[in-house]
Symmetry: C2
Subunit: 332 residues, 2 copies
């Protein structure tokens, strides 16, 4: 049986948090059992808008997060984007297959350009990162790419490039990939205002201490009109319930709690204590595994995965160059 190939990954711009867990890490732990999964640490992509020191510091931290939440190097191939220069080469070739107009219309890029206030100082590397992503996905011949809703245009862009490549240079060299929607909602930040994000300081980090987790849970946004315990409370938009939805396993009990809270008589403190305990129970074994990990082992795992992945990349590029007839010294 041929296993499907999955490509996924993260930008190493900070330690991973519960939002990552809910949005992607959890499903990766399942996916590695049935598929050939590549997890890429996208340090080159991070360089479009991040400091090199931050990036290189976080590569091993992210590796520790991966291993401590249950990704298994025997089942998942970890790779470091910058150590596979073939990715930059394929990006270069793909650039002839994409127009400026098409990139400027890419909805994901458009949104991010607005968020970052680039206006007239938009770096080409940023504008072109969908092209770089197309190279990431296709060089490993990925069948599936797990994404959030907002990333679907990126996969469409990739597949457009693939079709253009195939029409120009021949079929079967690179292939289209399917977006797999992550089955869980994004986790909101503890402030309830946006999605959990390290840069916004509103996320519970997988490697937070017991005390930090407790502090963040007790800072969580609930219902500002729920002043007295006896007041009826709002469940929707209540961060504590959103986190309980994601992490509390006794779903029947959780429904009872929601009903009770809505009716009045259930205090925030009691609820936050329950969530705190739930998260502590969830994170404690992750923290324990994480503390047992060392840098040298992480580096070795990443290095050996990168070597394996690079062999695949080199093989794809050999075919790409041959199809494009830029393998002059081999063909003449």
């Amino acid at each position: 049986m041929l296993m499907s190939i999955i490509l996924t990954g993260d930008r190493p711009t900070g330690k991973l948090h519960l939002g990552h867990y809910v949005g992607s890490l959890k499903s990766r732990v399942e996916l590695q059992e049935k598929h050939e999964q590549y997890v890429m640490i996208a340090d080159l992509q991070a360089m479009t808008d991040n400091n090199a020191d931050i990036i290189s510091t976080n590569i091993l931290e992210v590796m520790k997060d991966y291993i401590s939440i249950g990704l298994n190097p025997d089942k998942t191939t970890f790779l470091l984007q910058s150590a596979i220069p073939e990715l930059t080469e394929l990006t270069f070739y793909y650039m002839n297959l994409v127009t400026l107009g098409r990139l400027e219309r890419n909805p994901t890029v458009k949104t991010e350009i607005q968020q970052k206030n680039y206006e007239n100082s938009l770096p080409m590397g940023f504008l072109c990162y969908p092209v770089s992503q197309a190279a990431d996905i296709t060089i490993f011949q990925a069948d599936f790419v797990p994404v959030g809703n907002d990333q679907i245009p990126m996969i469409e862009q990739t597949n457009e490039i693939v079709r253009k490549f195939s029409a120009t240079y021949g079929e079967g060299i690179v292939k289209e990939a399917k977006a797999v929607l992550s089955n869980t909602q994004r986790l909101v930040g503890i402030d309830g205002k946006a999605k959990a994000s390290k840069s916004l300081g509103n996320a519970i980090i997988l490697s937070d201490s017991e005390e930090e987790i407790r502090r963040k849970v007790f800072e969580m946004y609930t219902d500002p009109n729920h002043i007295h315990v006896s007041d009826p409370g709002k469940v929707e938009g209540n961060v504590v319930f959103e986190y309980l939805d994601a992490f509390y396993e006794d779903k029947n009990h959780l429904e009872d709690l929601k009903a009770h809270y809505a009716k009045g008589g259930l205090g925030d403190v009691k609820l936050k204590k329950l969530l705190n305990q739930t998260l502590q129970d969830f994170i404690a074994p992750i923290r324990e595994r994480r503390n047992a990990l060392n840098d040298a082992d992480m580096k070795n795992i990443l290095l050996s995965g990168t070597k394996k992945a690079r062999e695949v990349a080199v093989r794809t590029m050999k075919n790409v160059r041959s199809a494009m007839k830029i393998n002059f010294f081999e063909q003449h």
Copy 2:
């Protein structure tokens, strides 16, 4: 004594012609005596707007042109752009240092975009070719780049990228280059309408046969009002005189001819016979050398030059990656 490094080259989109000789090849033959000269066959750049078959067919033809006009592989390093993937890698990194606005304002690119009628279908690879040129120039640590007037903005663009790189990642890794203006004018086409260009079919190719040269000389645009031999004729804009200026060595005699033609009494046929003889004498030894060349030797010269050039490129990239802190496995 440290020799200066010169980078120059051509897109392998057709055999070279007298316009190339006057504009660049002639000076390269002189430059190779005093400098370390790299001549790059820019097949990747040609791919932004040319067919792969045309390009791969012309690589060895251009090599034959180089050798037959007197470029010496012991003195000049020939290299094939596509065989040095480090160039695509450096281009990728430079993309973070250039904004979309800056590339759109590049006068050379602007003109070429208009010429090619790209409008809304501008390929990113085309828009980004100044970034690719910056990689070409800097990866070989070039001090000088011989260019025509219209290419000066490309060198300015390169130097801007270099300054941005140095400010971001550190000084002395890549360096600025100086534009050297070719000392001869561009050669007009035989139709007098534009510069000589293979695609316009108005150029005398270095490997044209005796008969083709003769035909093209006798087709040349002169002075449409110079109907009778006795009529006064216009020297300015007269293609025959422009070619004589470039190739006829007895300059005193040429001045006499111009005066005679202006006054009246000197026929176009007589003048064209003189030019034909001049060009036949110039091209005959080139053709003879060219006929003695074989593909295998050309390939070997290009391969060994490319290997040498690639060593330089790899060395530069090692420093670039280290400065950018994307040499993770070496630094940790």
